[in-house]
Amino acid sequence: MPSDNIRPSSPEAASAWPLVFAAWLIATTATLAVLFFGEVMHYPICTLCWYQRIFMMPLAVILPLGLFPFDSRVVRYALPLAGLGALIAVFHQLLVMGVIPESIKPCTQGVPCSTTVVTWFGFLTIPLLSVLAFLTITALLLAARLRSSR
């Protein structure tokens, strides 16, 4: 049947399901959290944050499409988003930490990306949370790819 081609449901592939589900959980939590910061708490949004949103939000939509029915190829479509998002998030974090000098700072108008609005527990900032979220999603998707290709 042709549909079997689209839905590889071997036991090995199915074992990747929880990984993709976890990635979706993180992406959705991040999406809702960032909407809460911006739309409810009215935190200012810097340019780099917009780019990270652009890569995070589609993940919350695309990943469930690969969960029901399970289609391991969703990893192929989601990984570039997660990877690029991780790159921007790391860049943003380096900017906040001052590793990247002011002169390469891409946003001079509006809210400067090098300032952070909130810090929890003395170290946790929104850019750092973004780095953690993107890197975890990337790692989960890579693991899912390994498992389902075996």
Binding site: F21, T28, L32, F36, V40, L67
Partner: protein, 218 residues
């Protein structure tokens, strides 16, 4: 299927947390805004502010206004209607919140016009021509001048008054009070010291109606 139930449960919980959090947060903010306004009554009304309506009117609307803000311009005629609908009952006090780039220069223009007793006609002329002197959200005082012609102003005197330190002081005080009262967006209204629960003309109308009803009951 088990997986489907898990997915739907997770999604439901996340959405519930989000909406619950949003409602809780806005309620807290509203409470806090009232408390801030209550604690800083002195910052709400200053002697220097332009006012409209009778001094002994029972309802006082304090409006923080940015002459370059489009929403302020859109609200202005409706606020005037509100005043006209309740003659002698409402006093409007204008405070400046020039948040737009270059808007402080426009405020100086208004204050200079006020020295000649032409504040309200100039304000109305400027709000009506806002799109022409504030392209791309940047107020340009040079573009505003032509819209003041025909109002009977002594332009030379005005140009001189613009740089008056008194005007600078008024702007500085209003901005400081806006900060104290947590005014971050314009227009912001306080009716008898109470801030708007959420932004909108209906909310302002409601607050004014409540204040009018409260004074009638006395």
């Amino acid at each position: 299927m088990n997986q489907k139930t898990l997915f739907i449960a997770a999604l439901t919980i996340l959405l519930l947390v989000f909406t619950g959090g949003a409602f809780y947060y806005s309620a807290q903010q509203e409470k806090q805004a009232s408390q801030v306004a209550e604690a800083n009554r002195a910052a709400l009304i200053r002697m220097h502010s332009p006012t409209l309506g009778k001094a002994e009117a029972p309802v006082v609307i304090v409006e923080f206004l940015d002459p370059a803000c489009e929403t302020c311009g859109a609200f202005y005629p409706r606020v005037k209607q509100l005043l006209a609908a309740n003659p002698d009952k409402i006093r409007l006090v204008l405070r400046y919140a020039p948040f737009h780039n270059g808007s402080d220069k426009i405020v100086a223009l208004l204050e200079a016009a006020r020295m000649q007793g032409k504040f309200w006609p100039v304000l109305e002329a400027l709000l009506a021509s806002q799109t022409q002197w504030a392209p791309r959200h940047t107020a340009q005082v040079a573009l505003a001048w032509p819209h003041l012609e025909g109002l009977g102003l002594n332009m030379e005197q005005m140009a001189f008054d613009l740089t008056s330190p008194d005007i600078a002081k008024v702007i500085e005080q209003d901005l400081a009070d806006a900060k104290t009262l947590n005014v971050t967006m314009t227009p912001e209204f306080f009716v008898n010291g109470k801030p708007l629960p959420s932004f909108g003309f209906e909310q302002l109308q409601q607050l004014v109606d409540d204040a009018l009803a409260a004074t009638r009951g006395k």
